[in-house]
Symmetry: C2
Subunit: 767 residues, 2 copies
């Protein structure tokens, strides 16, 4: 489900200028030794990793991908179940204790979708993705027609309004042009923010239906040759996808917070808050063009214009558009494949790995390119076991079902096993789509050094430097371009310090959400990308083996590279004497986030003052062209003092505690091993550190989300908001809430610090 | 010729952050009194202006425009001559001493132009602008086929390469993609820099031909509905224009520096440095589309992509393109209409006003919309004379011919009368295209306060505030948008100070060049625009009365507004007791420019260091996608110390002298009148102040340009470069030249300061 092309940008939103000094500090901390291992153990671990690597065979990844992408594999399809059973057999063959865990979820599927333009120049949308030459699966039956799951049923006719990306600022621009979407059908284009926000915001503004089309500027011919000549989206290609309000909670809309087991108590459909009230339909630009041509009214703002050969207007259209969406709202099964390898000395510490196996059509890119790397890891680990190795901690490899509609398989499993996971899970490592390019690593920042050490030990297939150094080069070049965004410049500055490269904070968009944001388990999301052309077929019928083999990772070199980076992290976490987390990196990152919040407050205040000045001087009215009237913006609320002092102090205290832990860890590393009992106690506490960043009260208006540092943005969807309670309150100008959550978040950080101090004591205590 | 839509941007390039304090200083200087007048004289002047305004009749402007745009009026056309004679008769009828001054200039006109794509999918370009419904002149004969005057004759066949806007950075991007244009035909799109630079740079890079097309993103359907439904460029519309190398010298290519009178010594054609050596042709996007579709090679960088429904590639094309341009290189006559009104007390001080009358086709927008305001002023002034008024100084009203091919009429006249003009001319006020919107004022900054006072006294037809306050609102809103450029923010900051709004520095693009940049006469360029749609028909067959009456200035309210602003400035300059220049405004502006140069040096040094770091770490190579290789950029030269201290000191001395003059002027204004002789001596010196900013040696490589503060950029064309000797040397990394011209410019500024001190003495000397 995750969209590689949009992830980096979103992630960059959590970088800052004060960063450089922080990394310098981190560099000081890095003695080059393998984190969590004594020198002797580290040597053994490296040879283990070499034996692991030796078993990775790109031909096998290719074979599994071709096989699993040979038929449509969306939730409820025969091949989806077949793929689960295929993996079950494989895991068992490789020596894992595996089973399939089934949940029953609400998963509507389209019974009738129709779209037509009425009036003098009527047009009936094809809503069909034709077979294309050379794509051998593109003519197969069993693919669901393009739709957005969890939109409402409806049969509506109304004039059309174009709302650009359909994000909040777009509605402000419409309002300034006197355009009201109440009672209208809104057409938006993909991009600029998460898909699900588009119909949600349209609904909140009073629209009765929503269309989402793929403009060729964003992933079609403007980007490159279209499929099958090139990899980009053809005229009839459509992006399917979920529009459930996953910012409230992901998973089965009827069972928030609990596993959707047979007996589970389910909400009535009408009470499911994550399901839309209006119909929504994704369409191709071939079908969108006649609709856009029917628009009247003001010319669209310059930044709203796509690459279609027409004058983009905001509307409304003179003729009405007629939209019909009817679905089968029955329950469907999802099949999670769970494979375990019991730990020798710490069986009750789990190291969990996941990737989903359900696709929207054939799912070659999304998700199978990532899923086959997980399979390759599992097979190689099985091979190590056959060679006599046993992990110290328990390894759990999971292939989730139902990720596409709303992280269903992973969320229901995590909810069903919540207390056990909070007791046992020390890491969740996720992957999803994978392709050629650069390592894209996000997650808990206490894991940043572990990721860097692993990335430093794996060679990039194209450049033959380490994947970390290639990523560093990418960050440096990205941040150096004349028109680089401040975030890209900040990242480049961090990368230029040498040592560790920053990892991103996680929002949502793949299966880590329940583990990180609901249960507070330290998590990572890894994948390669940036050189591939997946955007053009994302969630369309053309997400096929043939496309992937041409434009994804033709020799599966990046599949193997991901298996190495992820596999090494799993093995090190399984075998480390001291769990390989480094809390100073979290502290450094937190300092940056707090710095960002101060800047956000200052910038918001400046912008507010400026806007008020302009309004008071009637500048907007005087500037406006009377023949193309654009009204002044609505007056922003006045801004009181925002008190971030509690955060400043908590961050400062945490910095001191992190330094103390680091010193104690260094003394320990140089000294004798800890007594087994104390080491176990230590690892127990390290394993639950991330959970202290959660609070049962959760985030404002969405208490499924318990993590106080990382969350998907209410108004960005996949995009992360760090220190969300405070940041989103400021952005939404809810001033009291901002002050309240600054204090609450400080309390949470103090709990983290308190447990960190206990770790330090344990390390220092004389044996 | 000037292009209103691109002018503001260019002008903003000469603003800076240190600006605010400067304006504050200016505000202190402003006692509100009419500059150059005693209180009693000011009252009389205001009533004179009221009587002037009362005679301005929009219906007359409309009538003249319709009449003069009723036939093609390019140089050498019958109607061009007829328009000159029409104005001659009018000026005489209005009581002016008028005559037509004729020059004979080299003006090539096309005999044969042809363009075809060869190979398997051949295409022959139409090169024809069809008649459109409702545009009554669009089917008239006598319009020259679309061409770029002063391109070379040629008949060439070669593969095609796309070079975006054809600016220097674009060639760097091509080189990084391994694309060499030697022996190729280059196709560029209009925009991004002056037209004439495109073939010049193509030629310098070894291309054998150049095409320039209008992409619909820049002035076609992407901007709005096309003509005749809307005002924007239709599919077959073509932008004509000059490609003479006017950065070397404007005017007749065969007579640099002297008037092209019958007996004048002329260069041989081959020795004319401003004429291209390769053929060039402007085409429509209808004709460009098949050529762009024929391109192969790498996908064009994102910022290169226009609004055509295709994948923009850089090429080269598999098939060759065949381009033919053959011209008639004979001499043609240009008819300058010169009307004078002798001054009563200072006949040897001339106040000069000009606008050109030649167009590319019908010239309704460009230039007649400005020319009819000049006529309206002349008629109203004639009316004042009939009422018994006489100007104290001599008024010269000129309507130039041959501006479009290269400022021919104004340049030849200025060169022919150089010494007399340097003795007598105290102001040159230019206008050109005029339309709805905001006052666009550029010129010598010693005239900034005069312009502001005049703009403050004229009401905007749409908003009914003063045109100055509307311009201020525009600057404030422009600079407040999220994605405002730093220059726009700097301007907004200046405007927010209240008091005077900044005027722009002048580069080139209209008839002020010879007066300001060659002779050093204080100059202004005025016009309204920004709400009109002229870009879409600029220099095409559709620059017609019908288009202007719909999309330009339908009720001619802005024609009258321009006549008022320009007329009041002319009348005040003609009658002022002390010529209305304020040197503190120049000093404030110079301080900003010097600040910009310091920033330019710092930024260039930082960028150089960063680029060297990236190259040394092989970051570009590691970042590159091996399947879409982009090589590292060429290594920038190392940067030595740049010594701007001479400029800093000269600017500081000037500031002190300007303050002293200001104080002396204030004492004078409060005290008794100066004795007539001293006043005359004073005005003589004020009138020649701007000339002290010139140096006979001129600018590096182009000594026709004598002004050391304002010049058109060698690599921007119309776009100004302030303190050009220093700024362009730094930008081109010619370090020794930068240091050399910093010292030279300081000397020039000291001459200005020395004469300013003499003014102060004259004001202070006891009578």
């Amino acid at each position: 489900m995750t969209h590689p092309r949009i992830r980096p940008l979103l992630a960059m939103a959590c970088m800052l200028a004060t960063a450089a000094s922080a990394t310098a500090a981190a560099a000081d901390r890095d003695d080059g030794a393998m984190l969590g291992f004594s020198r002797t153990a580290a040597t053994a671990q490296q040879s283990l990793e070499q034996r692991f690597d030796a078993q990775l065979d790109p031909a096998e990844l290719r074979g599994w991908l071709k096989q699993m992408a040979s038929q449509p594999n969306q939730v409820g399809s025969p091949h989806d179940k077949a793929n689960a059973e295929f993996m079950l057999a494989k895991f068992r063959e490789w020596g894992w204790d595996a089973h399939i865990e089934t949940f029953s979820v609400l998963y509507p599927t389209p019974k009738k979708v129709a779209l037509e333009l009425l009036g003098p120049n009527p047009y009936t949308a094809a809503l069909h993705e034709p077979a294309v030459a050379g794509d051998t699966t593109s003519d197969l039956a069993g693919v669901l027609p393009p739709y957005n799951v969890y939109g409402a049923d409806g049969d509506v006719s109304a004039p059309l309004v174009y709302a650009n990306y359909g994000m909040p600022d777009d509605y402000k621009e419409l309002a300034r042009r006197g355009i009201d979407v109440r009672g209208k059908i809104v057409i938006t284009r993909y991009g600029g923010g998460w898909r699900g926000l588009k119909p949600k915001l349209a609904q909140e503004h009073g629209a009765i239906g929503c269309l989402i089309y793929s403009d060729p500027r964003d992933d079609g011919y403007a980007q490159g040759e279209t499929y099958p000549q090139g990899g980009w989206r053809p005229a009839q290609g459509v992006q399917r996808g979920s529009v459930a309000d996953m910012q409230l909670y992901p998973g089965d809309p009827l069972t928030p917070g609990i596993g959707s087991t047979p007996g589970a108590k389910r909400l009535a459909l009408k009470d499911a808050k994550t399901i839309l009230k209006i119909p929504v339909l994704p369409i191709s630009y071939a079908d969108a063009t006649p609709l856009l041509q029917a628009l009247r009214g003001p010319t669209a703002p310059a930044s709203w214009r796509g690459a279609l050969p027409l004058t983009y207007r905001v509307g409304p259209s003179a003729s009405k558009v007629h939209l019909t969406v009817l679905s089968d709202w029955s329950q469907k099964p999802v099949y999670d494949v769970i494979a375990m390898l019991k730990g020798a000395t710490a069986p009750d510490q789990w190291v969990v790995r996941g990737n989903h196996h359900d696709g929207w059509t054939f799912g070659a890119w999304d998700p199978l390119s990532g899923n086959v790397t997980l399979m390759a890891e599992a097979k190689a680990i099985g091979g190590l076991v056959k060679q006599g190795w046993r992990p110290q901690r328990t390894l759990v490899y999971a292939s989730w079902d139902g990720e596409e509609p709303g992280l269903l398989g992973s969320t229901e499993w995590a909810e069903a096993h919540a207390s056990e996971l909070q007791q046992k899970a020390v890491l969740y490592l996720n992957s999803d789509t994978n392709g050629r390019g650069f390592l894209d690593a996000g997650g808990s920042h206490s894991l940043q050094h572990l990721v860097n050490q692993a990335a430093d030990g794996v060679t990039d297939p194209e450049t033959h430097v380490s994947v970390r150094e290639r990523l560093r080069a990418h960050m440096l070049v990205d941040g150096s371009s004349k028109d680089a965004k401040p975030e890209a410049k900040a990242i480049a500055k961090l990368a230029a310090e040498g040592g560790d490269v920053p990892i991103q904070a996680l929002g949502s968009g793949s299966d880590y959400s329940a583990f990180l944001e609901h249960l507070g388990i330290a998590s990572l999301n890894l994948g390669f990308g940036g050189e591939d052309d997946d955007a053009g077929i994302y969630h369309s019928r053309y997400d096929s083996f043939d496309h992937y083999a041409r434009f994804g990772d033709p020799d599966f070199g990046y599949g193997v590279a991901l298996a190495k980076v992820a596999g090494h992290i799993m093995l090190r976490t399984a075998d480390a004497e001291v769990l390989p987390l480094r809390f100073g990196d979290f502290s450094d990152t937190l300092d940056r986030y707090v710095g960002e919040l101060h800047k956000l407050v200052d910038d918001t205040r400046k912008a507010t003052e400026q806007q008020h000045k302009l309004l008071d001087s009637h500048a907007f009215a005087l500037d406006a062209d009377p023949t193309r009237p654009v009204a002044a913006p609505a007056r922003d609320s006045d801004m009181p003092a925002i008190d971030l002092a509690p955060l400043d102090q908590a961050a400062k205290r945490l910095r001191q505690s992190a330094q103390a832990y680091q010193a104690a860890y260094a003394r320990h590393a140089a000294g004798p091993d800890l007594p087994a009992a104390r080491q176990q106690q230590l690892n127990q506490l390290i394993g639950s550190m991330e959970q202290t960043l959660t609070d049962p009260a959760g985030l404002p208006g969405r208490n499924w989300f318990k993590h106080f540092i990382y969350a998907p943005g209410m108004l960005t969807g996949y995009g992360v908001k760090t220190v969300p309670g405070v940041r989103e309150a400021i952005e939404a100008r809810r001033w009291d809430e901002a002050n309240h959550y600054a204090a609450l978040t400080a309390k949470v950080l103090d709990r983290y610090r308190a447990q960190l101090d206990r770790l330090t004591m344990l390390l220092d205590k004389q044996s």
